[in-house]
Amino acid sequence: MSKEKIKNSLKVGSDKDGYFGEYGGIAAGENLMKNLEELKAAFQDAIKDKKFLDEFAYYCKHWIGRPSPIYFAENLTKKIGGAKIYFKQEHLNHTGSHKPTNTLFQVLLAKRMGKKKIICESGAGQHWSAAAATAAKFSMPIFGVMGDIDVKKVNQNIIKAKHYGGKLKVVPGALREAITFAIKEWSNNPDYYYLIGSTCSSSPFVDIVRYAQSIIGKEMREQFMELEGRLPNEIIGCAGSGSNFTGSMFEFLDEPKIKKVVVEAEETAALTNGTKGIQQGMVTKFLQSDDGSKSLGGSSLGSGIMYYGISPQLAHLNDIGAIEASTASDKELLETYKLVAQNEGIGISFEPAAAITEALKRAKGKPKDYIICVTACGRVEKDLDVIEELIGKDFE
């Protein structure tokens, strides 16, 4: 990789005020400003510290099991007839998603900052179980917040996190309410480290999570060069707020020939259907009532992509045409789950099913040497009961 600065490079973090174009920033209470400033300084310091980065790399390898491999989904490719479909197998990471890469990075950062306790929110419970596992590994007490709607859907993550030693607070609602509540708790306990699960909220969180997850795209570059001798034509990922997608495509932002496609749940597609607003600590696109007092959007099977906002960086990149956005419906998620299980012997969760749905659509009819890489960011265990209930009979 070239180390030269590219003029107008898109491979950059937020500007000095924490913005990406007109999105991002810090919309937080005065009582959190010191924490955010401290965090920003600590983050910028840490990523210049080779020892810290080596430590991150060490645990990525040994604890999480990175690099996650890329995988040529040969049967799906044949079935669809067109582009070569590759999965970036993030579901093979410890705890079953891309999430632990972020929790590992931030828990190490929290330790480096001398923090003694961790607080976090979660939607699908993947972030919660990853965070609790990481906190256990580094002997940090942790306290999590989830909405009761999500808790019902992802029982296994909740139990595992409990076994790791995490204490969970359940609040009425879903991810939005969990974030709001967690931020409140952080306000009350500014000595905590707030461990956010995605590329959202106030600066510098978006940069921190993006930094950690960018390892996905870096691995992809190496792996594709090794296996195919070239890079993919398209990179596709699902998004709740956008961490796995951002992590997958950030590495390639200055390579405009590589298409980057983000897929949201149809019911909560902030990037596609949202309007600009200021909530949840940031300026970005939201599904919101006209007056900004309420969030909108329905419920998706993919609890991890059921969020009414989107990463401000993605809102910006979408505005300037650096990425494309699409959506997937519940019906498509179920259908894609089935296809992947039966044809590739891989049980993915609902979130990556959204991304793979789009990949299948786009692969169709494309030339045989066209490569699409889609990030398979979660495994099915957490969704298994729901799938059995909804389409169990389809498999008899």
């Binding site: 920033g25 810090i26 005065e30 400003m33 009350n188 200021i278 949840q280 900004g292």
Partner: protein, 249 residues
Amino acid sequence: MIAYFVACYPSFEKSLELIKKSIDAGVNICELGFPTQEASGEGIVIKKAHDHCLERSVSLKDTIKLAKAVRDYNKDVGIVLMGYMSNIFRYPIDKFVKDLASVDADGCLVVDAPHELREENQLRNALNKENLSMIKLVAPTTTDERLKKLSSIFSGWVYSLNFSGISGSKSADLEQVKSMIKKIRNYTSLPICSGFGIKTPEDAKKIAQTGCDGVIVGTAIVDFIEKNIDDKNLPEKVGNIIKNFVKHL
């Protein structure tokens, strides 16, 4: 004394009624909180009142109407709209400031809008042009460096947070409040009002003795309203509570 009300809670008329009685009882500045789902700085008491209003589709527009009615009732009382950036941004900002000026309110206070936020700058500039105040908050965690920066944009009065945390969650530490007021004084000649954690008239008295120029009572009032929501004499009773607070100052 500064009192925080959730605007239009429990309804436009009742809210107006009890604000009138509060003014009669000696409130100097009314904070009119406009509801939002976010309310990330609010504790469960105030959040519940917000939710009540949201269910009835109370909007920032209604809050401005309420401000007008309060102004119509009393020419001198301070009127400050308090809430979150979300609603103001969507109003949008310029129209919000125009409407604020047209109802003769004094300014606004936005919980989640630090001066680092560009949209805050936009709002503040617009308010300044109309000679309205953007009330800024100072927290115990606010650094000296930051306080210095803030001092250049203080306007109207300064809201001194008695603790870092959400409303209604703890009680204030008097020594800490005292030293905070002192610290802020070094940077401004504007009135400094102290808020958060003032639950009883006795609390208010103690806080008043820390050297601040005013005390802000919020959760205690909203809590009383919530608990007596069906009481026919609610406005009078709220008035009595305010009287009791004022007496102790």
